[in-house]
Symmetry: C2
Subunit: 187 residues, 2 copies
DNA sequence: GCACAATGACACGTCGGTGTCCCATTTTCA
DNA sequence: TGAAAATGGGACACCGACGTGTCATTGTGC
């Protein structure tokens, strides 16, 4: 706790968080035992780092949101137009698929959780509207539906990478292309 | 059981199956109590129709596959080209979203279940390959990945219809258009 | 080598979902 | 109307996940 967060503690902590994201992204009802197994840690150890289930949920929630925001800002920094920003964000979060799934697969999962930053105040809907105004996305489609398409494309590409159907280096490009072409204005 | 499956029994049975599909499509770990509530039936009644959890799972599995096959055959009957068949199938199964989700959201859910007809022997991959040969779909994309995109589009459109974001009468058209444009060959 | 933190294995008690009865009440139909 | 069918709801035992604790073992820094 003091100076002795010697690499070990941080590494086990990260291993547990990674495992939790990977497991809970697919099945939020998975037991702590499953997560401990995935993290290659005993259930006792898991409980020492996160005394109760909720503590792990909160920690993963905070961590996932932080990493997502980091990716978001990185994408913003290198983009000029709205559609370019959207594409860069998609490309960036393909690597955060587990975290995204954990965060957004069930809209009611974190209601009432003090650590949950509602996705209303991030600028994605506004960004999509801007892309629609620029003539890059079909203006007749609801931005929230577009977000749904984004997330589901993230999901399938990540799943396909995990199962070996899709090579990792093609994942981001593929997802972005389907998104871009599928939602372009009617020609 | 004999001639006396007087409408009543059939209707409650259907109500339970519908409820189970709707609930388990989103969370397969949901309790039988949740399903009974959704079906507006007491838990006792549910147990009378399906003595154990597995019995309900099997019944829903059989029912969902039957309805899917029916939609499949209907789409086949009115289509001539491969891509047309795919589009008609997509349009048809938007209304079966709950059943599709229940059947395919977890690939490992029914392994070993004697009632499970592996999706290897339905012709979807072949159909997609045919559409690729016809120049209607990008030939560089793995058919199984295309199937993933199909299912995820079914999912988002159905979710959006349920949440009121997307009008029902536009659901099928929207899903098909995104699929078609998103996966068309590079131009 | 010695102290001390970290980990793993095990042992409880609690709680919710499940499966099974049983009985009262309502609905259906002859 | 009256019998049969169908349903609702409570009581109970069972089981697995969870939360908490203890104790032995490992390994890390001094």
């Amino acid at each position: 706790m003091t100076t002795t967060d010697s690499g070990v503690r941080q590494r086990t902590r990260r291993a547990i968080l990674e495992a939790a994201a990977a497991v809970w992204a697919r099945d939020f009802s998975a037991s702590l035992g499953d997560i401990a197994d995935r993290a290659e840690v005993s259930r006792s150890t898991l409980h020492r780092y996160f005394p109760e289930r909720q503590a792990l949920v909160d920690a993963l929630l905070i961590d996932s949101q932080a990493r997502l925001e980091e990716a978001w800002n990185g994408a913003l920094a290198v983009s000029s137009t709205a559609i370019e920003t959207v594409e860069n964000i998609m490309a960036a979060i393909v690597d955060l698929a587990d975290q995204i799934l954990f965060l957004f697969s069930d809209p009611t999962r974190f209601v009432g959780n003090p650590h949950w930053t509602s996705d209303e105040d991030d600028g994605l809907p506004d960004l999509l509207r801007a892309a629609q105004s620029d003539g890059e996305l079909d203006p007749d489609i609801d931005p929230h539906f577009v977000m749904g398409v984004m997330y589901s494309l993230i999901y399938v590409t990540a799943e396909s990478v995990a199962s070996g159907t899709l090579p990792r280096h093609k994942a981001a490009e593929t997802a972005v292309r389907i998104f871009r072409h599928g939602l372009s204005p009617r020609s």
